[in-house]
Symmetry: C2
Subunit: 145 residues, 2 copies
Amino acid sequence: MLTIGKLGQSAAVKVPTIRYYEQIGLLPAPERSSGNQRLYGKSALDRLAFIRHARELGFPLEAIRDLLSLSDRPDQSCAAADAIARRQLSAVRARIARLKALEAELERMIGQCAQGTIADCRVIEVLGDHTLCATDHDVPVESAA
Amino acid sequence: MLTIGKLGQSAAVKVPTIRYYEQIGLLPAPERSSGNQRLYGKSALDRLAFIRHARELGFPLEAIRDLLSLSDRPDQSCAAADAIARRQLSAVRARIARLKALEAELERMIGQCAQGTIADCRVIEVLGDHTLCATDHDVPVESAA
DNA sequence: CTAATCTCTCTAGCAACTATAGGTTCAAGG
DNA sequence: CCTTGAACCTATAGTTGCTAGAGAGATTAG
């Protein structure tokens, strides 16, 4: 039996994240010690590792929820799991394409910067006037924090 | 003088988003009509277009805030603007590299899927066991919603 | 036995919006 | 002139996937 801290260490998931997963129903509520602390078995570790790994591959939690419920029914066709993975793959590819366009535009913008004053800064100018752009990039994009 | 709706249309930014930008101080509070509705001039349109465009290029709002305050001082060196753009470029490149690793892993995972039952589904199996992975991808990644 | 380290619950915050509710104003048609 | 419907107003809550904090209780090492 693992405490939440040990579980977190084993699966490389932070403790509050585990509690969060339980809260949103991705992990079942585990048994508790006499002092009300969570105690986990091997199956919880497997499940958490699965979640972690899927997150690393960029699957959204809702997709992971679906994958988990699939893996609970091992006799069914894996077409659904395959479909989820394919969706994820095409999402990843779309993001790569999008980011490459951004990369090109940023490179162009920076390449034109002669390090003068703001008044002739191409960076500022390009941002202020979309028509100066070489590529199309009018779909909003998520932050690159 | 533009109403918020016209402004939004002209800059391709949704109305609630404009109000949000005002709320967080990215756009100045505009004058109001006798009936308390916002009225914008050309400068607001320029500023909003700038923000929109920078968002398209993936700049986080905080970076845009910096760029805007730079563009308000046209006599200064543009080194700071250049630095912001370069930071953004390297963030974009890092994300591309990361996504390519994910793409490769997903391709591998899907390629192994023989469309049998869940019990021998490589997708599920690979997700459950990180050691089956070809590539390293242990840094958490943002969702691909 | 005590001190340090977990762990507990609950709440609030992050980015960057989006949506909803419930009300007001405006522009155009009859 | 009046009404209808679209656009506008404020304020609040929700989204995703966590992270951080407060204040209290549990456990374990020495």
